[in-house]
């Protein structure tokens, strides 16, 4: 990790090295689905796609929590909104089959609207109170999705929406194996490139936002809202913008999820998912883009990798003692606790946060200007 940061600072001065690294990264990312398919099997291409979806979600939540400092525990609701917009507008459920270039932006837009809807009444709330209200909001959205099948069937209730159209250009579906320029691409691989493109777009937007006037306003609000408004920042609009922006990323990601999965149900959007995404950004290093991406990748891949515990048990004890599916989440929980105790600032913290951690040795909580002060 240290090596990574060191190299990073060198790139800033050495443009040739930076370009070389950039090209190498590009080649690795382009070849990744083929390598994964050959090395680990088809199922892992799926994991790879989910990883990209979670990277998008984590980056979106990072705007709300990491930049603007607004603790949001109902973030998955916006993912759900995006997914349902896509699902309802391109599936046999209503008989509508709009193309994805309509439904995806629409999903992002509707999600952004819901973001403002959540943000507007909660502008005065901070810290844990905001957390509990956002949590309640997330649950409300899920319960409505679960129950809006009567008396008028809108969401099809707990059964969810089925047979959702895949992402496709005319007759060219991205969910099937296709041959392009003499190369065979499986459905998962094709989708990987689409997801990758969107992920890179979101990373680019985040990078540009971070140092922009808006990004600095977010960070100012996170550090001290009163001082920020004294400096002439319109805290109301800037906070609403953070909610809308974060929600729109989740909405986009949700639409992609619906097209990828072909099926959505309220079950996929429970509180644990919101918490998972929060864990990703805290574990990776809140407010720092490489950290957030790393956290998302780790927390998506780790539970999948833990499926191999069965093999390990066979090697160790000669048979499967405990079902790996039962043990998986237990180990995941322990890992979460252990990682947080060893490195509470996250794996790749931003410079500012790392400094804050060094500064407050031995100072008691109440005296310290916490990021999440009341």
């Amino acid at each position: 990790m240290v090596a990574f940061t060191l190299h990073w600072s060198r790139f800033k001065h050495d443009h040739r090295a930076a370009w070389m690294a950039f090209i190498a990264l590009g080649i690795v990312l382009a070849a990744l689905p083929f390598l994964v398919d050959a090395g680990l099997g088809r199922a892992w291409v799926r994991v790879l796609n989910f990883t990209l979806l979670y990277v998008m979600l984590a980056l979106g939540l990072n705007i709300v929590v990491g930049f603007a400092g607004l603790l949001d525990l109902g973030y998955i609701a916006f993912y759900a909104v995006g997914a349902y917009v896509y699902a309802l507008l391109s599936s046999p459920h209503f008989g509508l089959h709009l193309p994805f270039w309509v439904t995806l932006p629409l999903g992002a837009l509707v999600a952004a609207f819901f973001g403002v809807l959540l943000g507007a009444p909660t502008l005065r709330l901070r810290g844990d109170y905001l957390a509990i209200v956002t949590l309640g909001f997330g649950e409300i959205i899920r319960i409505f999705l679960n129950n809006l099948n009567a008396p008028v069937n809108i969401t099809n209730g707990p059964q969810g929406v089925n047979l959702i159209d895949p992402l496709r250009f005319g007759e060219f579906s991205l969910n099937q194996t296709q041959t392009l320029l003499g190369m065979t691409f499986t459905g998962g691989t094709l989708l990987y490139y689409v997801f990758l493109a969107f992920t890179l777009l979101i990373i680019f937007v985040c990078m540009r936002l971070q140092d922009s006037r808006i990004g600095r306003a977010w960070i100012a609000i996170r550090e001290d809202e009163v001082a920020a408004s004294a400096m002439g920042i319109n805290t109301r609009n800037i906070k609403l913008l953070a909610f809308a922006m974060g929600a729109s990323f989740a909405g986009l990601s949700g639409g992609l999820f619906a097209g990828f999965q072909g099926f959505v149900s309220p079950e996929s959007f429970n509180l644990l998912e919101s918490i998972m995404i929060l864990c990703m950004i805290v574990l990776g290093g809140m407010g720092n883009l490489p950290g957030v991406i790393l956290g998302a990748v780790l927390l998506t891949v780790l539970p999948e990798a833990l499926r191999y515990i069965g093999e390990l048990e066979r090697v160790l004890f000669g048979r499967v003692v405990v079902e790996p599916s039962d043990l998986r989440m237990l180990i995941f929980g322990l890992a979460l606790v252990a990682m947080m105790i060893v490195r509470p600032e996250g794996l790749l913290p931003s410079k500012q946060r790392a400094r804050e951690f060094k500064a407050d040795d031995g100072v008691l909580d109440q005296e310290r200007a916490s990021v999440y002060d009341k």
Binding site: L71, P121, T122, R124, L125, G127, D128, Y129, A131, I132, V133, L135, G136, F137, E139, I140, I143, F144, N146, N147, P151, D224, E225, V226, A227, L271, I275, L278, C279, V282, L283, M286, V322, D326, L327, M329, L330, F332, G333, L334, A335, L336, V337, M340, I341, P344, E345, E356, F357, D360, L364, D365, Q366, E367, R368, S370, V371, Y372, D373, K374
Partner: protein
């Protein structure tokens, strides 16, 4: 002819806007109060920890679940051996085993997952709390399995009639026990040395430690007290619904936390009031939401109702009902 007229009358009653029936209202109120007193017990654990550490102990709901599971295991074992003991005594044995187990668990969780992070930013202990609750949930699933565990029918099944509504012995027992536990807790916090140390630590850990209070011991004691209450609440819930499940702590904890926030987190009386209110709101809301929305929304929106009221209260009174007004500290 006669029966046809009856059927017509029955039909008419469903179509006409239902007048407020006193017995049904009373029944909803009783159910709400019983549920609410359980919420209040769990909410006390959240609010005590928050008052001292400003930490949302997300694992608290799971401690309730462990309390229910342990006591059920003991009760089932006792019933299985066919000991000739009155049902209430068996249940009491279950409770008395669950309480120390949960206290030890609460102590252990604080030592391992929260104490090392006491000076870290607030999100770090939140994540370990989530990690701990995942561990507890899945640990319980490994030990007791995924199925619902029934509560053996050992408790008295008597019921009483109050103005057309029924209240069962178990319900009376739940309300009485939780009220006396809450009274005992209030006495402890207001009158004893430990209670004074707890209040002092909640105000300012530094000054309390300068006055000779062992802050670490006080925090451990707080966790153990909260866990003991949670264990009792867990047994109550499983006795009331007649079953326990490894996932039961999640929603219960969520609602109890909402209750604590509703009353004003960090405030003991607030937690009790919030718990009772949330129980009543939920019960009445679920009972009448169909009439209020002309049949559009049904009783399965019970949870929405609870959260919706919570959001309204927080928006208009962000510090909760009994909480002190928090001044923005810059």
């Amino acid at each position: 002819m006669d029966s046809a007229g009856d059927r017509k009358a029955v039909g008419a009653r469903f179509i006409a806007p239902a007048p407020l029936r006193m017995d049904i209202f009373l029944q909803q109120l009783i159910n709400g109060l019983v549920l609410g007193s359980v919420y209040a017990l769990v909410a006390l654990g959240y609010t005590m920890v928050y008052g001292i550490l400003e930490l949302i102990n997300f694992a608290h709901g799971e401690i309730t679940m462990i309390g229910a599971m342990v006591s059920l295991a003991v009760i089932s074992a006792l019933v299985g051996t066919g000991v000739d003991m009155p049902g209430v005594l068996i249940a009491l044995t279950g409770v008395l085993t669950a309480v120390p187990v949960c206290m030890a668990l609460g102590y252990g969780i604080e030592r391992v997952a929260y104490r090392p992070l006491r000076h870290a930013p607030r999100l770090a202990p939140l994540i370990t709390a989530i990690g701990v609750s995942i561990v507890l949930q899945n640990g319980a699933m490994l030990i007791w399995g995924r199925q619902y565990i029934p509560f053996p029918p050992i408790l008295p099944t008597g019921a009483h009639d109050i103005g057309g509504a029924t209240i069962s012995d178990v319900q009376i027992f739940i309300v009485m026990l939780s009220m006396s536990l809450m009274a005992a807790l209030m006495l402890l916090v207001q009158k004893t040395k430990l209670g004074r140390a707890m209040r002092a630590t909640a105000q300012s850990p530094q000054v309390a430690s300068l006055m000779g209070v062992n802050v670490n011991n006080v925090i451990s004691a707080t966790f153990m007290l909260g866990s003991a209450l949670a264990a009792v609440a867990g047994v109550m819930v499983s006795a009331y619904y007649g079953l326990a499940h490894y996932y039961m702590g999640f929603l219960l904890g969520l609602k109890a936390f909402s209750a604590a926030v509703l009353g004003g987190i960090g405030n003991l009386a607030g937690a009790m009031l919030g718990g009772l209110l949330l129980g009543v709101i939920e019960s009445l809301g679920a009972g009448y939401i169909g009439d209020l929305t002309g049949g559009f929304l049904g009783s399965h929106y019970q949870d929405v109702f609870a959260f919706f009221v919570l959001i309204l209260v927080l928006v208009f009174r962000p510090s909760g009902l009994l909480g002190e007004r928090v001044v923005d500290r810059a």
